[in-house]
Point group: C2
Chain length 344, copies 2
């Protein structure tokens, strides 16, 4: 038989409503009474029902974090600091994850189970943020924007400076003498893939370097996209001397493909990624990439969500996280004779 | 203003309790009425409050999955199939994750937020499973046991055949001529590390090979444990010619360490892991390891949990998942002269 609040009330010598008030920190209860109730609850191993408490306070003290596949190592790296910061602010975390192409059950976001939502994996044009907002459910986007084509954010969002990061990659590769440059990109429905690819293409064009469609492949943000995409690009009549992969998971897939095909990186081809996940720093990868400070992203997302809960009607804000080129061992300047000649 | 069940009742021309009953599939409502209510709810964008529904039905249709750090790639690989199978059975998943050494807030497991719990990261001697059981909360352990020293399980559990897997590794290494063999193990508080190390040690002893404490290191189930542990073992006066790492995360840390130290694997030293996570199959790692079928583990854990919910008083069961040696490129037979001589 589970212990009830009546059992606690009897042991503490108070009424049942006093037990409920004491355990949720109601200021009408004196500290001495609150302590007596808490001692009685601890003695009996009593935990108040979250369900009943939610009805009483209209607060669940839980935040839903919506992510793509957790098997993509980017997401655990973003979720870990989010989890810690929300916990420090007194909120538990519920993870809602996309799995493959299955329809996600978003009901837990709407049915009163949570006090707010962090969306880390929205697609461009998704109406989920607006639907949450119209129901008065606090929401913040972290990493991806869903309105990349509009300048005014629909809801609060914290995004990496994708354009600056991708431009830095283009500058590095062109300065190193590369002229035949490829790109392995992610889904066109994501702001991260779209912004990184567009800024890379734009910066190359400023240097007078074209990014032909024959040297561009796209796929899911997955190891396999880099693995097969690399093989496809290197089979071209004039294979690229450098490839920008719009995230590290794709870049590491490409590195593995190179190893399997006995193509030397960076001697035969330079590879650059984006995100700086832990595996990018391994001795076996030593991936040149663009760092995004995910702790800072998590901190800003948490701050915006808490301020949104406190002030539901404030205008939506966009915060941008700076990016930084990290030079490791997968890029190199072309030898002079190669960079001077237009083909191999 | 959010839509309420009264709005739905008005539009559907029924009473408010009929709306609630229709939306939770109560058989007392005729199919025609249920459909009218559902159409009205959809038209108004009404989602029933999970909080109120939980109080009415004493069921949340949510299962908590407790894991260690998600940044350890083993856990996402186990959680993904668990998530899918529970969803197919009509349950949403709440993830509760350990973060570093911080005390985990287990309140959501006890406060009525979930219908059951899957524990994937328990320590030996943990009283959490027994506490859940004594409160009548259905629980199943997946991957780790908490009562490894007792033959009778305390609660339902699904564990890999750690002993058979570790014995297969010992047999492989001894058959290949290795005699100076090391081990990089995980926390002694986990059944996985303890069972794998003990079975490995036992099988080596049966072959007349000792596993000296100077060639055994232990640490967290983390990349860094393998990275620093490998460097420590290879600095020994008589470094090992083969090392068993009790999981792949540790083994991949060791492989990276070898690369940084310019020690060739498998030419200078053989390395074998356990779990067969996706990164073990990468061309850059090609790790010889022991496969654990995590989809099967997730299926059996889900089945046991559902049967426990249906029949709370049945005796606790233990299921064992078979393991299988996967030969890749990080092990090799010693050349005859080396294996014949006791020291290098």
């Amino acid at each position: 038989m589970p212990t009830t609040s009546s059992d606690v009330a009897r042991l503490a010598g108070v009424s049942q409503p006093t037990v409920s008030r004491a355990l949720r920190g109601d200021r009408r209860i004196t500290p001495a009474t609150a302590q007596r109730v808490k001692r009685a609850a601890a003695q009996l191993g009593y935990v108040p029902s979250n369900v009943a408490r939610s009805l009483a306070t209209h607060s669940t003290k839980r935040i839903a974090v919506v992510t793509a596949e957790l098997t993509n190592p980017f997401y655990p790296e973003l979720i870990a600091p989010l989890h810690d910061l929300l916990e420090r602010a007194g909120f538990g975390t519920i993870l809602v994850t996309h799995r493959g192409n299955a329809e996600v059950d978003y009901a837990p976001l709407f049915d009163g189970s949570v006090d707010g939502v962090v969306l880390t994996a929205g697609s461009i044009g998704s109406d989920l943020p607006a639907r949450l907002e119209s129901r008065g459910i606090p929401v913040v986007l972290a990493n991806r924007s869903v309105g990349a084509l509009i300048n005014t954010p629909i809801v609060d969002e914290v995004v990496p400076d994708n354009a600056a990061g991708a431009r830095a990659v283009a500058d590095l590769l062109v300065r190193s003498g590369h002229r035949r440059i490829g790109c392995i990109s992610g889904p066109e429905t994501t702001s991260t893939a779209r912004e990184r690819e567009a800024a890379y293409r734009g910066a190359l064009a400023e240097h007078g370097v074209a990014l032909p469609s024959s040297l561009t492949v796209r796929g899911a943000f997955a190891h396999e996209t880099g693995h097969s995409g690399f093989a496809t690009l290197m089979k071209a009549d004039e294979p690229p001397t450098a490839i920008f992969c719009v995230n590290d998971v794709i870049a590491i897939g490409a590195l593995n493909s190179a190893s399997g095909l006995s193509i030397a990186v960076p001697d035969d081809v330079s590879l650059v990624g984006f995100d700086n996940i832990p595996a990018a720093a391994w001795e076996l990868t030593e991936l040149t990439t663009v760092d995004v400070d995910l702790s800072l992203m998590a901190a800003q997302a948490t701050e915006l969500l808490l301020s949104r809960i406190a002030e539901p009607s404030r205008a939506a804000l966009r915060r941008t996280i700076p990016t930084r080129l990290v030079l490791r061992s997968t890029h190199r300047p072309l030898p002079l004779d190669e960079s001077a000649s237009p083909s191999k």
